[in-house]
Subunit: 405 residues, 2 copies
């Protein structure tokens, strides 16, 4: 449950959403399992979705993280190659002199963004420089941009200024290499050409007529290459799968060699089809040794500073869990946790530890019978790190090989 | 107590052996000390005897571990030199074409193995290649093999195929160096010559007559060099000693610069003379600043999937401790723990944390009055690592020097 942990909020009687929510099925798992608190990377370090999920899968982001761009691209379904340079990218509204009017292009719809994307697909052929450019829309105003070719570099500056009312800086090389200079040139040419095309696209003509902001520019950021992760299958001899809505979660899991399973109706929002996700994940247990079920709504409610909504969403997850709990085979080790704390008061990821519970055969059951930040701090696992989780789970499943003789 | 920690077992009322055993003296130490749980290397990582004991003595095996061979050789009493290549070795039964019939040579007795060893001692002189070969029997069908000479390498493959019914692969170099090629040649010649000699040894002629399997081949594995450990005496300015039955425990301690003290009747099995070991260890406290008493029976019972026997053995240790507790000077810091969890259900080392207790002057006594996996998880030490133990003990004894000024 993304960002499930929180700080106490005056809006819900100085409790956290996990304390405030009525969640009998989750608490049943806690009562029959072992609990603890977990720092995704280290105490007090607030992590992003990318670094957090890398850590949860056992990859120290200080070693393996190469930026969000390539993980998003993988999650969007692009078969990223080791030499590709990937960026996250927004559709935005900019003025004639490239001043940012709206970083989200008036929050254009998925359908509009999808149609706008289609005209960008063949733009590579019209570039003077020899590189293939791929753009793929993900959700709302967001997408990924991938440069493919010889002699490219990830050492290029962010184009997205991350705020409005300022002028877009065209990409610049961030080191003195010829490859970085060349990559900046390719990207710049693509951005300028794509603006010309987007300005006159029927979707934007229509939006202009309606007085809506147009999506006439792409703002890439977070250039990076594919990270080189030891695969889950190599580390544990087991094939893994992920059920998730958002691209970044799928992307991290793909980078770890896991399969992405699409659950119908999984949107990565608070209105996702939880039943579909649970059914899909439980079914995947028949074919995979490890399944990660990612649920985003808890994080979204926290970013909206709505701890009450977060508690209600936790209750919805709990009800769904209750319905499917007896469908999970008894030899499965279940772990419930989050990738970070998201504080509903400030609406941001924070570095407080996250409660974790592990339930299954051989577990040293402790006396904790509630899953929240306070109760779990007294649990039998003590305080562990994100990097430890898969080692603990695969060891409980008697899969891990001994280190030494 | 080797492998003392466990998972709950249905054979003993869903308790662990430490919970099931009646152990008033150990629990008295817990009540008057501070407790916690300890991950030998890291949460969820199951360690072997070698890596586990390295970690318990403060040596990160990821940095210092060079294979079990050299540690076994040290433990067997060989004065291993830095350039020596050491192997673990089994007496085995092989057919004429070197197919493994029995990896343990019909479990030959210590006496038989000892006599067979004696004919291998002078075999070096008959080798065409210039290297000294030492073989030393340890227990039952086991021994250690050491190659000494210039230009040798540990980069040689295991000869022991680790299963029966398959042909032995003669040693091969595992890198492209001339030294590895040469080492493989020396080892191969030794193995072929030793088979000729063993086949016609009176012990084997006798065994053949009785219809028993003969010990006609040596199967080396785990080539390695002496690890380069900072000595206990250098780290803490104190001389250490070990009282143990098994070769590997003595070997790790010798590598750390500790003296090996042999207790009469210490066998490294469940029938060891515990009183002799306690007397020897307590006596050693008069001459050494640090004494490690290693007790193996707990681990053996777990490998035999016998949690009840493990509990009974813990009770035997407890009774012996009770008898000798008042012989331990009051200024001694006592620490009781294990090198890993051995799960009596699966009969394997597993990565769950191990309970630990520390008793002595200056210790911050907690409220825990039982020494087991569950109670100690609530102890005042929290969750620590194997690498921390000696630092904590020498600090409590006011021996450790300040880091910084």
């Amino acid at each position: 449950m993304d960002g499930v942990a929180d700080r106490p909020s005056p809006k819900i009687k100085l409790m956290t959403p996990l304390q405030y929510a009525h969640k009998p099925s989750i608490d049943l798992l806690a009562a029959g399992g072992v609990t603890g608190i977990m720092d995704p990377v280290a105490p007090g370090i607030p992590v992003g979705s990318d670094t957090g999920h890398l850590a949860l899968l056992g990859y120290d982001p200080h070693v393996y993280y190469t930026g969000r761009g390539p993980l998003e691209a993988l999650g969007a379904g692009i078969d990223l190659q080791p030499m590709d340079i990937a960026f996250r990218c927004n559709f935005a509204t900019v003025s004639d002199d490239w001043t940012v009017v709206d970083r989200r292009a008036g929050r254009i719809s998925d359908e509009e963004a999808e149609q706008l994307s289609s005209v960008l697909v063949n733009l590579s052929n019209r570039l003077s420089l020899d590189a293939e450019v791929m753009f793929k829309h993900t959700v709302e105003h967001r997408g990924v941009l991938v440069l493919r070719g010889d002699n490219l570099s990830e050492k290029v500056s962010d184009v997205d200024p991350h705020k409005e009312g300022v002028k877009v800086q065209m990409p610049r090389p961030t080191d003195s290499s010829e490859n970085a200079r060349r990559t900046s040139e390719v990207l710049k040419e693509f951005l300028i050409k794509s603006k010309e095309i987007l300005e006159n696209h029927p979707i934007n003509i229509e939006r202009r007529k309606k007085g809506q902001k147009i999506a006439n520019a792409l703002l890439p950021r977070g250039a990076g290459r594919l990270p080189n992760l030891p695969l889950i299958s190599e580390r544990f001899g087991v094939k893994g799968a992920v059920v998730a809505g958002g691209a970044i979660y799928k992307g991290v899991c793909r980078a770890a060699g896991m399969d992405v399973i699409n659950a119908p109706g999984a949107t990565g929002t608070i209105n996702t089809d939880l039943e579909s996700k649970f059914r899909t994940a439980i079914d995947a247990l028949n074919r995979y040794g490890f399944v990660l079920l990612h649920i985003k709504g808890t994080d979204s409610a926290s970013h909206d500073k709505n701890p009450e909504l977060k508690a209600r969403f936790i209750e919805k997850v709990d009800m769904t869990l209750g319905k499917y709990l007896d469908k999970i085979p008894s030899d499965v080790i279940i772990c419930l946790t989050g990738d970070h704390t998201t504080c509903s008061t400030v609406g941001e990821h924070r570095g407080d530890p996250v409660p974790i519970l592990i339930h299954g055969q051989g577990v040293r059951i402790d006396e904790i019978d509630r899953f929240d930040e306070f109760a779990c701090s007294k649990g039998g696992l003590g305080r562990i790190r994100g990097l430890d989780i898969l080692n603990i789970l695969f060891d409980l499943a008697n899969i891990t090989k001994m280190y030494g003789e």
